[in-house]
Amino acid sequence: MNFLKQDNLLITEPALKQEPIVLQINGVEYRDYTTATKTLSQFLRETAGLTGVKTGCNEGECGACTVLVDNKPVNSCLILAFQAEGRQIITIEGLLGADGTLSPLQQAFLDYGAVQCGYCTPGMILAAEGLLREIPNPDDREIRRALAGNICRCSGFLNIIKAVKSVASQTDTPVVA
C-alpha cells in the first residue's frame, strides 16, 4: 500500500505499475515505481523533489504547474507521469545556467518586480519561456495570449508582461532576405 500525501487528501493506491517510470527532467534521468494515475506534477514534486513546480487547481485552470515538455508549455497536473516517458521535461530549476546564473526571463522577473508572492512565478516563467522558444519576438497580444492560462492571484500581471516583453525585445530577430 502506497500512501501519497497531496494537499489535504490522503490518497491510497494499492496497485503499482510493474515497470518503473523513467523520466528525463532538466537533462537528468529519474526513475520510480509508481502508480499509473500519478500525474507529472506529482512525480516532479514528490519523486524528483523539484518543488519549483507548484500545484494550484489541479485541473488546468491556474497554470502554476506549467512545465515544458519537448519545449511546449503544458499543465503538468494534466499529464500522467507515464505519458511523459521519452520526452524532454524542463522545470524552473532547469532554466538556471550551469554556473547557477538566472535565465534572462528569471532575471527580468526580478528586475521588473514581476514577483509578488511568487506562487505563480515558475509557471508564468515557463509559459513565457515556451512562447519565446516558439516566437522569439512576440508582440503584446501574443504575450498576453501565451500567459492567459496562468493566473496571478496577486494580480501583478502588468509587470509580468513588461518583464517578458523586455526579454522578447532583447532577442535579435534575423532579417529574412
Partner: protein
C-alpha cells in the same frame, strides 16, 4: 477499492488492436488527458489506461480540394492555422484559436473533445456544422464511420462502446462550390473561458452575386448536445447577403434560443447575447460590416 492494473503506450494502430483485443476489462484511452485526468482525480478507475499520444497514425492533417481528414490525437494547437489551407474550415481554426489556454491547446485533442461530449465543448458544433464523419476502430478490430450526432448522444454521453477508439475525423467540405465558415463564442472572459454560447456558420457563398446559396448553422452550449438551427437556415437559404439578411438572421437566432431553452434562467441573457454573437460571426464569415437590428441599435 480497485486500482489500475495496467497501462500501455502503443505506437501503432496494430499494437493498439493487439493490446485491447485480448483485454477483457474496461479501457480508457488517454491522449491530452485534459478531461480524463480530472475524471481520474474524481475517482474514475478503468482497468487499463492506454496512452495514444505517441501514435503518429493518429496525429496528422490531410487536406485536398474537397476533403480534410484529421487524426483524432492531433492537438488543438495544430488546428489553428488550417484556415490558411482551406477557408471552408476557417470555423475549426477559429474555434481552436479560442480553445482553452496555450497549455491546454498543446495537449487537448479533437478526438478527446468528441469522446468527452461536453455540452460546452467548442469543437463539437463546428464538427457538426461541417458535417463530419468520425472514424472509429472497435475493440474487435472492425471499423465504423459515424456522424457527430450518432456519437455524441447526450451531455457527457456517447454511443461508443468501451474499447472503441476514435481514429480520425473527416470533413467533406462538399457544401456547394465555395464553402466558407466562421465560428464565434461568448464566455465570461476572453481567454480560457467556457462558452456560454457558441455559433458556427457554414455557407456556400457566391461572391459575384452575394448569394448565400446554401447555409448550415449550429449553436453550442444551448443544450446537452450541439443544436442545428434548421429553422434559421430555411429563412436564409438562397438569399442575397445584405443588411436585411443580417436582420433576419439575428432575429431568427433569438427565436431559436427562445425555442431551445424556454424558461431557463439564462434565456433572457442568451436571447439578446446571441444577436451580438451572430453579428460577429456574420462579419467574420462575409468579411464586411453589418449593423445590429433596429431594436438593438444604440444599446452598445
Amino acid at each position: 477499492m480497485t486500482g489500475i492494473a495496467r497501462t500501455a503506450s502503443p505506437e501503432t494502430i496494430g499494437e493498439t488492436s493487439a493490446i485491447v483485443a485480448g483485454f477483457t476489462g474496461s479501457i480508457a484511452y488517454i491522449a491530452g488527458g485534459t478531461d480524463l485526468i480530472i475524471a481520474l482525480e474524481q475517482g474514475f478507475r478503468p482497468d487499463m489506461i492506454v496512452d495514444i499520444s505517441r501514435m503518429e497514425a493518429l496525429n496528422f492533417v490531410e487536406i485536398n480540394f474537397k476533403h480534410v481528414r484529421i487524426g483524432a490525437a492531433t492537438p488543438v494547437s495544430a488546428l489553428t492555422k488550417l484556415n490558411e489551407l482551406h477557408k471552408g474550415i476557417a470555423a475549426l481554426s477559429q474555434a481552436a484559436e479560442q480553445f482553452g489556454s496555450a497549455q491546454i491547446r498543446n495537449r487537448a485533442t479533437l478526438g478527446g473533445n468528441i469522446a468527452s461530449a461536453k455540452p460546452a465543448g467548442d469543437l463539437l458544433p463546428v464538427l457538426m456544422c461541417l458535417d463530419c464523419h468520425i472514424e472509429v476502430l472497435c475493440r474487435d478490430g472492425s471499423t465504423k464511420k459515424l456522424a457527430l450526432d450518432e456519437v455524441v448522444t447526450d451531455s457527457g454521453t456517447t454511443s461508443l462502446d468501451n474499447g472503441d477508439l476514435i481514429t480520425a475525423i473527416n470533413l467533406p467540405l462538399q457544401l456547394g462550390d465555395n464553402p466558407i465558415s466562421a465560428f464565434g463564442k461568448i464566455g465570461r472572459r476572453r481567454e480560457l473561458t467556457i462558452a456560454r454560447l457558441n455559433l458556427t456558420v457554414l455557407a456556400d457563398y457566391q461572391t459575384e452575386t452575394s448569394l448565400a446559396r446554401d447555409i448550415r448553422i449550429v449553436a453550442g452550449a444551448i443544450g446537452p448536445v450541439p443544436l442545428r438551427l434548421k429553422c434559421v437556415e430555411q429563412e436564409l437559404r438562397g438569399r442575397k447577403v445584405d443588411q436585411t439578411f443580417a436582420d433576419d438572421f439575428l432575429g431568427a437566432l433569438t427565436g431559436a434560443v427562445d425555442a431551445a431553452i424556454p424558461g431557463r434562467y439564462s434565456q433572457t441573457y442568451k436571447r439578446q447575447a446571441v444577436m451580438g454573437l451572430g453579428l460577429d460571426v456574420l462579419q467574420s464569415l462575409f468579411g464586411r460590416e453589418f449593423s445590429l437590428p433596429a431594436c438593438l441599435r444604440g444599446m452598445t
